[in-house]
């Protein structure tokens, strides 16, 4: 049984320079709304910690370590997701937390004990042991402000370790204790774990993690980016820190030492390719033509690394065209590509739809093989050559993918697709250590669109990507449709690529589309399973996401009609409506009713009504589209869904965006569809 379980936990803070005031609430018209900015301290953390483990938590400052501990301690609640903790929790989150400087050591001990939930009697019984461990008998009656940091640590640690807690949470502090005390702390903590209790330690001291922990997680920007044995994760953190400093000193972020040197001119690449892979001109001419597509939306930060790696591929440049399809970026992507990568073709898509952008590119491509590379991914030099070889060996294959690492590794991102329960799909190997299982070539049900090679013939045969998906799961759908026509997909471990997790798409956006497209996939291929898929939906159970229900209803309805006709859709729809009613159960009373809760209930009811109105006999119509309130919404042009990004009026980012837009008159968005620059 897990002692602590976190499921999809995210935590949002509101940042504002102004203090909240009653006056503003009462006179909103006079003073205007308060300007707040959201900050996600944690994003989508899922963790299960068993008793008898000791978990280390690492990460740069501001990566969410302390927030994670606060959530585990029950000091604050997650914005979404659920935290469950079994047993008594003791915390040591700061020096002097729960101490008062003017009270004596003795008084503070009793106060701190009471804060930790110890009864008077229990406290008296343990008092001597605590004082003995802290070695502070001589100072017990001196006020706390005379204590040094080390002495405060002694007091705090002594009491925390003596609380008989099942879970102990410690945040960055052992470093101020002297050597002898640190050693005694270590011994105590090791014993604590051996007694089958759970220990969670946040620290920047790598040695501590290696000595004490059997599992370490690494946080960065609120996301869990590595989880594994201490040595592996510590190495990962070291690398992360080095790269951070390198990027500060003005160097480009690069992945492997081989790519660290400046970009050689094209001739040099050709020559180098000739040296590395001796081959005759005839052999080179027989290599198939490849078109690689990189879809970009405001991804200038990642795009240069991606293009650098694509241009450095050990594949003859004259056999491989590189195309960026832009979804209407408002950042400097276009200027950057024109200045630094003049050989790269630049296509403009009419709306912001990842699938449509890829289809647009494929229609104009001159290659027989199509490589899809995400703008936040980058490739090892032999990636393409290896995959082309694999695809050439087996005419049955529609597409192949290689070993894609998460960020710079060592954890995996994808080695092809894998079906999960309840119609969920995921990338095979995601978050896992690269093990022997992934060193064998294999057949997979589909390949991730983040870095994979397709045969153009198969793409044309199935009609390309389904634009209704917009983004996410479109590759799963592609896999299913190709397999229906007898094609297969392969995994080639020798082809290595890297992918930044959630590099360009935000967490919330991803969640919206993953859930939506999972349902669409069911509606498309097995509509009778749709009610069941709705009931087993993980996202809809979170209150904050119920607003999506109305939008999903519209999307599902369109998909059902398109794929199965009016009649087919009407066969399925009553079941869908029933499932909707069940999933979107009205709120339950807990405690006293409040205006806020009643309003929330009414709002939810309204969403439900909008989604299921006219359910009897006819198809319901979902009106309007869902705005997340966070700056994007899904809009339809005819039957084509696409993303629209909006910034809140009057915010700093909106103003600066308006400035850059006006500076760049004749912006790339004004270009006709498919225009080549």
């Amino acid at each position: 049984m897990a002692a602590i379980r976190l499921r999809g936990v995210s935590k949002r803070f509101w940042i504002s320079h102004e203090k909240p005031a009653l006056a503003r609430r009462l006179l909103p018209g006079l003073l205007g709304p308060r300007q707040v900015r959201e900050h996600w301290a944690l994003r989508d953390i899922t963790l299960e910690l068993d008793s008898g483990t000791s978990l280390g938590v690492m990460g740069p400052n501001g990566s969410g370590k302390t927030t994670l501990l606060s959530l585990m301690a029950g000091i604050t609640q997650p914005t979404t997701g659920a935290v469950s903790v079994r047993g008594r929790v003791a915390t040591l989150l700061s020096l002097g937390g729960g101490f008062h400087p003017e009270l004596t050591g003795r008084e503070n001990l009793f106060l701190n004990g009471a804060v930790l939930g110890l009864g008077m009697r229990e406290m008296r019984r343990k008092f001597d042991a605590i004082v003995a461990f802290s070695e502070l008998d001589a100072f017990m009656d001196a006020p706390l402000y005379t204590y040094s940091a080390g002495m405060q640590l002694r007091l705090g640690f002594a009491i925390a370790i003596h609380t008989d807690a099942d879970v102990l949470l410690i945040d960055e502090m052992l470093a101020v204790g002297d050597l002898a005390f640190q050693q005694r702390c270590l011994t105590q903590l090791q014993r604590f774990r051996q007694q089958g209790r759970l220990l969670v330690v946040v620290s920047q001291t790598m040695e501590l993690h290696e000595q004490l922990c059997d599992r370490v997680v690494l946080l960065e920007g609120g996301r869990l980016i590595a989880d594994g044995a201490p040595q592996t994760v510590v190495a990962c953190y070291r690398q992360l820190s080095q790269e951070h400093n390198a990027s500060l000193s003005g160097r480009a972020i690069v992945s492997a030492p081989a790519e660290r040197r400046p970009q050689p001119p094209p001739e040099a690449v050709e020559q180098e390719g000739a040296v590395g892979h001796p081959e005759t001109l005839a052999a080179r001419a027989s290599l198939p033509r490849v078109s690689s597509f990189i879809v970009n939306y405001n991804g200038v930060h990642w795009l240069s690394r991606c293009l650098e790696s694509v241009l450095a591929l050990s594949y003859p440049r004259d056999r491989c065209e590189v195309v960026v399809v832009d979804n209407g970026s408002t950042d400097e992507s276009q200027d950057m590509v024109r200045a630094r990568f003049p050989d790269v073709r630049w296509l403009v898509n009419d709306v912001n739809n990842y699938c449509r952008a890829n289809n647009l590119g494929v229609r104009q491509a001159n290659g027989d093989l199509i490589a899809f590379v995400n703008s936040d991914a980058w490739l090892a030099p032999d990636w393409l050559r290896t995959l082309v070889g694999a695809l050439g060996d087996d005419p049955q294959l529609a597409g192949v993918t290689g070993k894609t690492f998460l960020g710079k590794g060592p954890l995996l991102y994808s080695t092809g697709h894998e079906a999960l329960a309840d119609d969920y799909w995921r990338d095979r190997g995601l978050w896992q250590d690269d093990g022997p299982r992934y060193d064998r070539a294999a057949e997979v049900p589909g390949v991730s669109g983040c870095a994979s090679l397709y045969r153009r013939r198969s793409l044309d045969a199935v009609g390309g990507m389904d634009e209704a998906f917009v983004m996410y799961y479109e590759d799963v759908d592609l896999g299913i449709r190709c397999r229906q026509r007898g094609w297969r997909f392969g995994y080639v471990p020798q082809a290595v690529a890297y992918h930044q997790f959630h590099g360009t798409a935000s967490h919330e956006l991803g969640q919206f589309f993953v859930e939506r497209n999972r349902l669409l996939l069911v509606a498309k291929h097995a509509p009778e399973g749709l009610p069941g898929a709705l009931r087993s939906s993980q996202v809809l159970l979170w209150n904050g996401r119920r607003q999506w229900l109305s939008q999903y209803a519209q999307d599902l309805q369109r998909m059902l009609r398109r794929e199965h006709g009016e009649q087919g859709a009407e066969l399925v729809w009553p079941g869908v409506v029933a499932a909707y009613r069940e999933v979107d159960r009205p709120w339950r009373w807990r405690g006293a009713p409040s205006a806020g809760r009643i309003m929330a209930g009414l709002r939810r009811r309204l969403v439900r009504v909008a989604a299921t109105r006219e359910a009897d006999g006819r198809m319901p119509v979902a009106r309007g589209s869902t705005t997340s309130g966070l700056g994007w919404r899904l809009a339809y042009t005819g039957d084509l869904p696409h993303l629209v990004f909006e910034r809140p009026e009057g915010s700093e980012s909106a103003r600066s965006a308006a400035r850059t837009d006006s500076l760049r008159s004749g912006s790339p968005r004004a270009m006709p569809v498919g225009a080549q620059l």
């Binding site: 929790v89 804060v115 939930g117």
Partner: protein, 270 residues
């Protein structure tokens, strides 16, 4: 809500520790210790005695005016001090709230608790003065525990509400200051409540909506007996009104805390 109260009871040790800490920290450096806190209400009573006897006389009742003042000033001072101290307490307890998990309502309740010692000492003084004056202690004295209990409940309730609101609206403290200032005049402290009886009905209704009116009346009745003067409401109705408002405030305070407990740590300072 009951579960929350049970949780609070489990942390009663912390409540007393925190209250004790408040008392100790407050008087540790002051020379006269907590005697100071008794001098304030006593001197207020003295100055009012002089002003409202000689300068601007108010109608007197059947009891010595100084006693009449004392019996109301101590309950009022307890209420006002507790509430004004409690306003900022949750907001400023970041060091505790951000680092430990415990029922947050303990913090304002401890502030109220730390004022109780002064209050009890004040009541002893009033009773002492009553006896010194040679006035008989009446059967109404039996109401005293009821009065004390209701005042504690009301004070705790108001303290809970304002301390939590202050976290989310930083200008609540000005509202509290103003309300306490106005409340002092809108409570029958230096004048008999019977004076209000002559005003139009809506003024009377508004006046009686102030819960401290009933609490102060209960104290006068129990300490000084019926001689304290005619009341607007009969004793039972006064007690009932006090009980209803006090329970209401307390329930509102606890339910506010139940609801906001989980995210309080995100908003407090420190």
């Amino acid at each position: 809500m009951l579960r929350y109260l049970a949780e609070l009871y489990r942390y009663r040790g912390l409540l007393f520790r925190l209250a004790g800490k408040d008392v100790r920290v407050r008087y540790k450096s002051a020379l006269l210790g907590w005697l100071w806190s008794l001098i304030v209400p006593l001197s207020i009573s003295a100055i009012f005695f002089v002003i409202f006897t000689y300068v601007a006389p108010v109608p007197k009742t059947g009891v010595p005016f100084f006693l009449f003042l004392l019996a109301a000033v101590f309950p009022w001072m307890f209420f006002a001090n507790s509430v004004s101290h409690a306003t900022m307490c949750v907001l400023e307890s970041g060091a505790l709230i951000k680092k430990h998990r415990f029922p947050r309502a303990v913090i304002p309740l401890a502030v109220v608790m730390s004022q109780v010692t002064n209050f009890c000492a004040g009541l002893v003084i009033v009773i002492g003065v009553v006896l010194v004056h040679g006035m008989p202690l009446t059967l109404w004295m039996g109401l005293l525990p009821v009065a004390v209990g209701l005042e504690l409940l009301l004070t705790a309730g108001v303290a809970l509400c304002v301390s939590l609101l202050q976290v989310h609206y930083r200008d609540v403290k000005y509202v509290v200051e103003l309300s306490l200032l106005l409340g002092f005049y809108l409570t029958p402290i230096f004048y008999p409540v019977a004076l209000v009886g002559g005003s139009p009905p809506w003024v009377q209704a508004a006046y009686l909506a102030n819960p401290m009116v009933h609490i102060v009346e209960l104290f006068r009745l129990s300490l000084l007996g019926a001689a304290a003067g005619p009341a607007v409401l009969p004793p039972l109705a006064t007690a009932a009104a006090a009980a209803v408002t006090a329970t209401g405030f307390f329930a509102a305070g606890i339910s506010l805390f139940t609801r906001h407990e989980g995210t309080l740590a995100d908003w407090v300072l420190g």
